[in-house]
Amino acid sequence: MKRSTPRRGFLARLRTDKDGEWAPFVLPALFVSVLLTVYPVGSLVWTSLTNIGPDGVQFVGFANYVELFQMPRFARILGNTIVWTLLTTLGALILGCVAAVALEHRAVVLPGVWRAILLLPWIVPQVASATTWKWFYSSEFGMLNHMLMTVGIIDAPVAWLSSALVVLPAVALVQIWSTFPFVMLMVSAGLQSVDESVLEAARLSGAGPWQEFRDIVVPSLRGVLFIVSLVIVVWALNSFTIIWVITQGGPAGRSSIFSIYVYESFRNFDLHRSAAASVVLLVASLIFAIAYMARLRRQS
């Protein structure tokens, strides 16, 4: 008796096809990918390796990168970028987790409504929110100093945006405010997947709330937190609107990060150095993106 082989699925056939049937399905996507991703990135890298001279565009190797790294303010921009990324990532993670866990508490009525309200900072266009925060922070005329002085927390106005030490954390707070809802949303989804029977078993075994959270909830969220962290880090590295609207990287470069420098160079018609800085930023983001992809692949 002849045995019939099971019919293979579409994707399985596509993955093992040797007769070229895949071409009509894959080639259009490949073409679009090359057009929208590979070509612009290639063009960017090429621009970073060239310069405009008397004879037109000339290949200069890594000269633009050397100039970039030798800039007097390179160290400050690099330092600011690291501090900015750490502050905004940790801040958004902590605030997002706290909000997500708090919304799970039984004392919170209408958690769905609160969740929607807390999502607003993420939804509001960053230009609008940054402009509002800018006036909120104003030294002499801002609402923040007015409130803090009214309740007696400070005696004199704080120069939130015109103090060398305070400006970067102050602007980072706006980025945290803008991105923590994303963390909250993802962690909330992660919390829904925590196995209630495991928690109940832990409770029967005498585990307290803190032990439940530390030994069961946090390990269950590890995968979500890893991916959320990577996304937040990439957002932080590429962040532009909030800083530009509030301080333009000032005062005296104290809140300038790489993405701000990229824009400034481009605005100053220094396209080649701007491209070099963009490639540096791209490589930094790629490290996190590759880690993200690797994690996703392991999960699937």
């Binding site: 002499e140 005329f141 120069a159 015109s162 000032g250 018609f269």
Partner: protein, 404 residues
């Protein structure tokens, strides 16, 4: 003068008459769109067969878009662009030299000198200016009266400006509720312009005579920075939050009656009057009299690689006419005859018009953006208290000279 321009206009109309079948593309910023479409309609009606296609640009993207287009092989035929960027394009050989066409069809004496200067590079002309303006002093007449100052007698000199500012700064319960003035030191372009005005007013120059370096270590350059930063650090007539605002924020502070005077432009007047404010205007207070303003505005230029440069010039020459300039400019025209139009006769605008004769174009050079950045950072360092004026200017001078 008028005879020559009208004669030239007639010649030009004859030259490009109905037989010409031409088509050009004109890039226009969105705030000029309505007036530009009206002008095009008038021109196309008078010149059957001539077609102008308008493409709209926006302030945020126009510089990059224009630079990219002119670097490519298919730029538009005519572009409206900021005057202070023209020399940069000309120095890169990206523009059509219109000197001969201009002298053939138009009269230089009909244009404000500083407006033509913004489009001149190495003695050649590369653009037709149609909008031109500078700064003036805008003040709150009610606040002047409250401070016991005569609103009919605004400050005429820098010393008066400072003493008026002190009288207009109000402190209540150890908190300053009103300042004499403020500065847009949170914005690179706005801040550097304010410094340049004082630099020129004091007789200083940004570049040295042969443009091989800068002179920011000169006594005039140091004095200008000292005077400017003293208004915040020493005299206290301007708030420290000047470091946080740009020109728009500055106007907001004035509109909210937090400051009594500011250096603004003619475009600031209408919104403030419309908001019901009782304002006065004056020429800039300078050293011993009227101060110096930096001037800027908009011109039309023909890219070097334009497909149809001569047809573009025909339309540019039309824009140069007094009537066209009156209709197109959002502030003042660059054409002196157009400036006599009643549209510009409002008393509050007259000081701005008078100020143009004391106008100096903003510097423009390869790497100007980076030069501004260096100066701006050092200016902010002074205000943060991390550098003295002299040290900051010496450092700025050294860093900028390293760019040459």
């Amino acid at each position: 003068m008028k005879t020559k321009i009208f004669g030239a206009a007639t010649l030009w109309l004859l030259a490009c008459g109905p037989a010409a079948a031409e088509s050009i593309t004109w890039w226009v910023p969105n705030w000029d769109e309505e007036a530009a479409r009206e002008l095009v309609a008038s021109y196309e009606e008078a010149n059957p067969g001539y077609d102008v296609e308008i493409v709209i640009t926006t302030w945020d993207t126009m510089a990059q878009r224009i630079l990219t287009a002119m670097s490519g092989n298919n730029p538009p035929d005519l572009i409206t662009e900021l005057q202070s960027r023209i020399v940069l394009y000309a120095s890169r050989d990206m523009l059509t030299d219109v000197t001969d066409w201009f002298d053939r069809d138009l009269a230089r004496e009909d244009f404000i000198d500083s407006a033509l200067a913004t489009g001149t590079f190495d003695g050649r002309l590369y653009a037709v200016p149609f909008r031109h303006d500078g700064s003036g002093l805008i003040y709150n007449r009610d606040m002047f009266e409250d401070a016991g100052l005569d609103p009919e007698q605004p400050p005429r000199t820098w010393e008066e400006f400072v003493s008026f500012g002190e009288a207009l700064t109000v402190e209540q319960n150890n908190v300053i509720t009103q300042y004499g003035t403020a500065w847009p030191f949170g914005n690179l372009d706005n801040a550097v312009v304010r410094y340049l005005q004082l630099l020129y007013d004091g007789g200083g120059t940004f570049f040295n005579a042969d443009r091989t370096g800068v002179e920011l270590d000169s006594p005039a350059a140091i004095d200008a920075m000292q005077r400017l930063t003293d208004t915040i650090l020493t005299n206290g007539i301007a708030p420290r939050s000047s470091l946080e605002i740009d020109n728009t924020g500055l106007r907001e502070l004035f509109a909210n009656e937090r400051i009594a005077m500011f250096k603004g432009g003619p475009f600031d007047v209408d919104p403030l009057v419309d908001a019901g404010m009782n304002i006065g205007t004056a020429t800039l207070p300078g050293t011993g009299g009227i101060g110096t303003t930096t001037v800027d505005g908009f011109s039309v230029l023909v890219p070097g690689r334009a497909n149809n440069p001569e047809a573009a010039w025909q339309f540019a020459a039309f824009i140069a006419q007094p009537d066209s300039q009156t209709r197109l400019t959002a502030t003042f025209p660059a054409n002196r005859i157009a400036a006599e139009n009643e549209r510009f006769s409002a008393p509050l605008l007259q000081p701005f018009l008078a100020q143009l004769d004391e106008g100096v174009p903003k510097p423009s050079a390869e790497g100007w953006g980076e030069m501004q950045r260096i100066l701006f950072d050092h200016m902010q360092s002074i205000l943060l208290g991390s550098a003295t004026v002299e040290d900051a200017m010496m450092s700025a001078n050294e860093e900028i000279n390293a760019l040459f």
